[in-house]
Each structure stands twice: as structure tokens, then as C-alpha cells.
């Protein structure tokens, strides 16, 4: 393909990018102008219609309605042709493999987000105003730019097992060999292999936590920090008494989104072990049932379990939000 040919096929696409953005901003410029003329009580209605309704409608069409359909289908048979009541749920609860997947999911949801948030917070704090902050941040952020599947492939190579006397092609194996640690089938080594998989997630997502928390830390009003340091606080104490309380809501936000994310995440497990070797998680099973075994009923039931897992997180959020408002 020639450069002029490339230009020829690309220009219309850039045109489309420009057009959709122009339409979006154009529409809202007009709507804002119109809205500004309306006074009094009715203005709230206008503002809600323009601000809130599109977002809610998009979320409902894309996720809300399908979620409701999934709920209905979880009470139906594999091909959704018959009602089976709670049959799918009873089967799921009795399935020993699924119980294991449930425990694994629990460890993912607890260990992964906590590690990510703690690391992200530590890095954001330490990096704040440090020399070469941008460089270090970029390096830690870089894995974010690689998809979970790509990252998993890279780490699979890192964990690769070779016989002790053979050339090692996995870096972890090479390090263990050099240190004289007996080589292990890292991906087979239950239950620790779950941790090795979670490590991939942590590697990939710490950048997310770091960036968000760093933005929050940079917004801590300087006077507060100064007042605290005049009182003699520094290092860990400053971190504990000023930084953490000031970014608490952001910590909760990062923790929450990571938890919901790990609940749904299956790319890592799927790519690295395919759910074998006692590493299966609910979301991977859901994917299997839905898209490999074409069992809509069971797949939907598993989706409902995942969805139920979000509930405690929501309740916690509601509470902390209420507490903050009363504050």
C-alpha cells in the first residue's frame, strides 16, 4: 500500500472522527444556549434531560436490559426453551469445581485490588515531587497499555518451566536456577499458582491505581500539608495523618473499581491456564458455559453469582458515601 493510498483511505475516517465530535459539541452548545434561557424550577428538568438522560439511557440499553434478560434466562434451560426454576442455581451450588472457582474468585477479589491499591498509593505518595517522577510513572504505567491477554502471554513466557538441566527460557525459572532454588512448575503449583496469576493483574493494573491516587494526592491543599509539617509531622506520620485521610474517598473508589473489575476479569486465567490446575474462577466458567458449551441457563446463573458479588461492594460504598455526607 502506498502512502497516497493510505492517505486516501484514512482521510474519510478522520473526517468521521471530526464529524461525530462536531455533532456532539454542536448539539450541546445549542442545547446549553436554549437551556440557559429557561428560568426557575423548570430549569432543573431541562438540565436533567440534557445531562442525565443520555447517559442513563445508554447504560440501560447497553447493560441494564441485557442484565435483566440474563436474570430471566438464569431460570431457563440450556437453550432457553424451558423454565427450570432454581435448577441451575441448585446445580451450581452442588458443583465441587464451582466451589473451588468461587474460593479462587474470592482470593482474586480480595488480594488483587488490595495489592494494587496499596502499591498504587505507596508509589503515588513516594513519587510525588520526586526527581524523574514522570519517567518512573510512565514505566509503571506502561503495562496498562498492554491488554490483559498480551500481558498474560508475556508472563506465561516468564513462568515457563524447563527441565532443570535444560536451557531456561522463562526468566523466573532462570532466576530460581541461578539462586539454586529447586525449579517448580509455577502454573501447576496449587494453590500458589493463583497468586502467580494475580501477580499478572497487579503488574498490569498498578498503573491505574497510581495515576488516580496521584491526581488525588496532588490535590491535597498545600496549607494542610504545611500545617502538619510545621507541627513536626513527616514521612510515615504525614502519610498516615494527612495523605490517607485526605484521599480516603479516592482509595475507596480505586478499591471498588478494582474489585468489580477482578470479579469480571477472566482474560488472565483463560490465557495462562485455561482454568486448569485448580485456578478456575467464576467469570471464566461463565464464559465457558455461555460461549463454549452454549448453555445459556447455566452461564446466566453464573453471571448472576458474579452480579451478586457486586452487592456487598455497593452496600459498602453506599455506607461510606452516607457517612461522608453526614460528616
Amino acid at each position: 500500500m502506498t502512502w497516497s493510498g493510505l492517505l486516501e483511505t484514512s482521510l474519510p475516517k478522520f473526517g468521521q472522527i471530526g464529524a461525530v465530535i462536531a455533532i456532539f459539541f454542536g448539539f450541546y452548545a445549542l442545547a446549553f444556549a436554549a437551556g440557559a434561557r429557561i428560568q426557575g424550577k423548570r430549569q432543573n428538568g431541562w438540565a436533567l434531560a440534557l445531562f442525565l438522560v443520555p447517559g442513563i439511557a445508554l447504560a440501560m440499553i447497553g447493560l441494564g436490559i441485557p442484565a435483566f434478560q440474563t436474570f430471566i434466562e438464569s431460570f431457563k434451560s440450556a437453550d432457553s426453551s424451558q423454565w427450570v426454576g432454581f435448577g441451575n442455581y441448585i446445580k451450581a451450588v452442588k458443583d465441587p469445581d464451582l466451589r473451588l472457582a468461587f474460593y479462587n474468585t474470592m482470593s482474586w477479589v480480595i488480594i488483587g485490588p488490595i495489592a494494587v491499591t496499596a502499591l498504587g498509593l505507596a508509589l503515588a505518595t513516594m513519587l510525588n515531587k520526586m526527581k524523574r517522577e514522570a519517567l518512573a510513572k510512565s514505566l509503571i504505567f506502561m503495562p496498562m497499555a498492554i491488554s490483559f491477554v498480551g500481558g498474560s502471554l508475556i508472563w506465561k513466557l516468564m513462568y515457563q518451566y524447563q527441565e532443570p538441566d535444560a536451557n531456561q527460557t522463562g526468566l523466573v525459572g532462570q532466576i530460581m536456577k541461578s539462586l539454586g532454588i529447586p525449579l517448580q512448575h509455577l502454573l501447576l503449583w496449587a494453590p500458589w499458582n493463583n497468586l502467580f496469576l494475580i501477580a499478572v493483574y497487579v503488574w498490569s493494573s498498578t498503573g491505574f491505581a497510581m495515576v488516580i491516587l496521584s491526581a488525588a494526592i496532588k490535590n491535597i491543599p498545600q496549607d494542610i500539608e504545611e500545617a502538619a509539617s510545621l507541627d513536626g509531622a513527616s514521612g510515615i506520620r504525614l502519610f498516615r495523618t494527612v495523605t490517607v485521610p485526605m484521599v480516603k474517598t479516592t482509595i475507596i473508589v480505586v478499591l471498588t473499581t478494582s474489585m468489580v473489575g477482578t470479579l469480571k476479569l477472566f482474560d488472565v486465567v483463560r490465557t495462562m491456564t485455561g482454568g486448569n490446575f485448580k485456578t478456575d474462577v467464576l467469570s471464566n466458567r461463565m464464559f465457558d458455559e455461555h460461549f463454549v458449551y452454549f448453555n445459556n441457563g447455566r452461564g446466566s446463573t453464573l453471571a448472576m453469582f458474579i452480579f451478586l458479588g457486586v452487592l456487598p461492594i455497593i452496600i459498602y460504598n453506599i455506607r461510606s458515601l452516607r457517612a461522608e455526607r453526614q460528616h
Binding site: Y161, E163, H185, L187, L188, R270, T271, T273, G274, G275, N276, F277, K278, D288, F291, V292, Y293, F294, N295
Partner: protein
């Protein structure tokens, strides 16, 4: 990612032939467009499949010839997400014109959506004139045929290194006993008699299911084999469990394949490379498409770098049965040009070009054996073209997908966790 095993079936490509022989599509252009005259048309036909590079590039080059001669454009899209997305796209109303489906089970699922279109009369004629009748049966649903095989592969092969055989002073075994004697020689020389690796991402375990299938076919014959995958003969039945235990003795002990846990984590692609050449393991039971796993520059043949022989029968009761795989272009559109492309794909016009390009075999008898340049693939093609012989399809691809999935997973547990064959069989049976 999902049913990788099946993606591979028939997608046999020697990377070698692409790199070494500089392939050009000049042969057809020199011959002109006469052969294409019946497919003249307009429009674009969208094909969706799991076949990716370098096979996909080879296909596209051949399609270019078709487009040049007929005016019908072919837009090809290949992805590892094929099995996940095809059902979504078909049911949701964004079906491709043609999907190349490697599992008869998935063909049946697609037919059940009511959107698949049976093959045209012209394709049907090709199928009945040029193929072993077994092939039509794999996609016959409700009395209608939905696909003629595009590529096909034989799974009943054993790969070996002629140099290593020569070193040990052994020749190609033709019976199971002879093969065991070769294995014993390797053992005595300090190597693992068998190479093995079953890791394949989300489809880990499939090579081990192939071994069981080979053994069931050899021990129980095609009739019982068919009873087995239709669910009428349980895994726990003495017949099937007996075959499974035979596999456990053949490829399931550390004296035969080395560390069993390593078998579970070794990529199937790496099972025989570089082990066969280096002599660390002796033989590898794997399908014909394994030829593409060898490094570029590898030559094939009894006197070359690598070769393969027919996996012998364990007894004389059932002749020389072959277990094969294949992929079926299924249409989702009644447009005239879609029928043309389907017809073209089942014809020798496409087949000869594709066979010339190397690394591919077909069950199409319209393709002369001389079109295959590679000696190993020539032998495989001859086996597949046999119109009278017993050809069965990979059983796990025919089983309900949930059973197939359990089959992979439980075989993986046999290697990774030391689960007994009896427990493995019982656990798979629970999924019927």
C-alpha cells in the same frame, strides 16, 4: 482460543514452504480464466474463520486469482475468537456470508439458528463425486448437507526423526508390537520413547483426547466409536475405559513420556520440537498439521529432517482406520455469488492451487497427488482420498461441547494431578 484443536484441523501449513519456495500464483494466470467462467458475478463475499497467518495470507493470494477472473470480491477475516463470535454474530443478525467451521458440532448449532443455508446443487455434486461419502455425513442435518470439507487432515500419524531412527538401527514400524519395540530401543538409549505436550491455552488437554480417540477406534472399531461419541457408550464402559487405560500405559507413565506434570504445561507446539531432532524423545503422535511446527528450513521425507508414519492398528480386526479432521465452509446467505464461492472452495480449482502452495491437505480426490509437493503430505492426502476406507471424525469435536470441554479438562487432570482414568471417565460421563 477456545477450540484451538479444531482450528488447527486441516490448517496444516509448512512455514517452510512459504519461506523457502517463493510462492507465486503465476500458474493459474498462465492457464487463464477458463476454469472460473461459471462463477462470473459481482459483489463481495465476506468469509469469517479461525484461520490466521500465514495460512490466511496464502488463502488470500489464491482468492485474488478468483476475484481477478470472476469479479467476485472475497473479504476474509480471521481471528482466534472465531468460535465465541460466530454464534453471537449469526444470532444477532450480523452473520458473515460464509463461515469456515472446523467442528461438526458447531455446524449443527448454527443450523439450529435457522440462518444457515444448505449447499447448492453444484457443491453437492462436487461432494458426492470427489469425496469419501463419510465427509458428507459430518454436516448432514435433517437430511440436508451444509458444507463440503475445505481442508482435511489425518490425525493418525506418528512423527519421528529419520536420523534418530537410523542411529538406533530401527525402521518404520507397521504393527503396534513393532512400534513398542522401537520405543524400547529409545528407552534403552536413555531417551523418552514418546514426546508429549498438551498445553493449548483454554483448550489445554485436546492432544490427550486425540490419543484416547485413536485407541478407542483401534480397539473397538468405527461402529463402537460412533456409538461412543453419540453418547450411547459411556466413558466408564469397559470398552472405552479399557482403551483409556491402554493410553495410560502407552503415553501416561513417566518412563514413556518423562515428567507427567511437564506434559500438562508443555505447549503442544513444542512437544516434538526440538525433542525429536535432538533425540531427547523418540516419537510424537500428532496430526498432519504438526508439520508447520518444525522450524523453517526443515525438510520432510524418510531420508530428510523429519517424517511421519501411520499410527499402526493394535489388532487386525478393523483394518487401517483413519481419524481425520476437517473444516466446512457454511453459507449464511442465499446470494448467488456466495454459492459460487462455496462451489469454488469445494472444487479442485481451489484445491490444486492451495495444495501447490504447500502445508495443506484435502480429502478432495479431484486434486492429483502430484499437486502436493511435500512427501509427508502426499502420503496423508493419499490416506484421506481413499474412498472406500473407514474415516472417522475427531470424536471430541462431534460430542456436545460441554462433554468435549470436560474431556479436555479431565485429561489435563490425569497429567497434572495424577487423577485415575476411572475417575476421569466418571467425571466426563457426568456431563452428558
Amino acid at each position: 482460543m477456545l477450540k484451538k484443536k479444531s482450528l488447527l484441523v486441516g490448517a496444516a501449513v509448512a512455514v517452510l514452504s512459504l519461506v523457502v519456495t517463493t510462492f507465486t500464483a503465476t500458474s493459474a494466470s498462465a492457464a487463464g480464466c477458463e476454469e472460473y467462467s461459471k462463477w462470473k458475478g459481482t459483489g463481495t463475499v465476506k468469509i469469517f474463520a479461525g484461520i490466521r497467518d500465514p495460512e490466511a495470507s496464502t488463502m488470500e493470494k489464491i482468492f485474488a486469482e478468483f476475484t481477478k477472473c470472476t469479479g467476485v470480491k472475497i473479504a476474509y477475516e480471521g481471528t482466534d475468537q472465531f468460535e465465541t463470535l460466530l454464534p453471537v454474530r449469526v444470532k444477532g443478525g450480523n452473520a458473515p456470508d460464509i463461515a469456515i467451521i472446523p467442528q461438526p458440532g458447531l455446524v449443527a448449532t448454527m443450523v439450529a439458528t435457522g440462518k444457515a443455508v444448505p449447499i447448492s446443487a453444484a457443491t453437492r455434486a462436487n461432494l458426492s463425486n470427489l469425496y469419501n461419502p463419510a465427509w458428507a455425513s459430518f454436516t448432514t442435518i435433517g437430511g440436508r448437507i451444509y458444507g463440503a470439507p475445505l481442508g482435511a487432515s489425518s490425525k493418525s500419524l506418528v512423527w519421528y526423526s529419520p536420523a534418530q531412527f537410523k542411529k538406533l538401527g530401527v525402521t518404520i514400524p507397521t504393527t503396534w508390537t513393532e512400534m513398542e519395540a522401537v520405543a524400547a530401543k529409545f528407552k534403552a538409549a536413555g531417551a523418552n520413547p514418546w514426546c508429549a505436550g498438551i498445553e493449548s491455552g483454554a483448550a489445554t488437554g485436546w492432544p490427550a483426547t486425540d490419543w484416547i480417540e485413536q485407541m478407542v477406534l483401534r480397539e473397538q472399531g468405527p461402529k463402537k466409536y460412533n456409538k461412543w461419541w453419540t453418547g450411547n457408550l459411556k466413558f466408564s464402559s469397559p470398552e472405552v475405559l479399557g482403551a483409556m487405560n491402554k493410553v495410560a500405559a502407552w503415553l501416561g507413565t513417566s518412563s514413556q513420556v518423562g515428567d507427567l506434570k511437564s506434559v500438562a504445561t508443555r505447549k503442544f507446539q513444542d512437544a516434538g520440537v526440538p525433542g525429536l531432532k535432538a533425540g531427547t524423545c523418540g516419537m510424537l503422535q500428532q496430526a498432519s498439521f504438526y508439520s508447520s511446527m518444525f522450524p523453517a528450513g526443515t525438510t520432510f521425507g524418510p531420508a530428510a529432517d523429519a517424517d511421519a508414519f501411520y499410527l499402526p492398528a493394535t489388532n487386525s480386526k478393523f483394518g487401517k482406520p483413519i481419524m481425520g479432521g476437517g473444516e466446512f465452509p457454511v453459507a449464511f446467505s442465499k446470494k448467488k455469488e456466495v454459492g459460487f464461492v462455496q462451489d469454488y472452495l469445494s472444487s479442485p480449482v481451489y484445491g490444486i492451487e492451495r495444495a501447490n502452495a504447500g502445508g495443506w491437505t484435502s480429502a478432495n480426490t479431484g486434486i492429483p497427488l502430484s499437486a502436493y509437493t511435500d512427501p509427508v503430505l502426499k502420503v496423508v492426502a493419499a490416506q484421506l482420498q481413499n474412498k472406500a476406507g473407514a474415516i472417522v471424525f475427531d470424536a471430541s469435536d462431534l460430542m456436545p461441547t460441554a462433554v468435549n470441554g470436560a474431556f479436555w479438562k479431565e485429561m489435563t487432570k490425569f497429567y497434572a494431578e495424577g487423577k485415575s482414568m476411572k475417575d476421569v471417565a466418571a467425571a466426563i460421563d457426568a456431563n452428558w
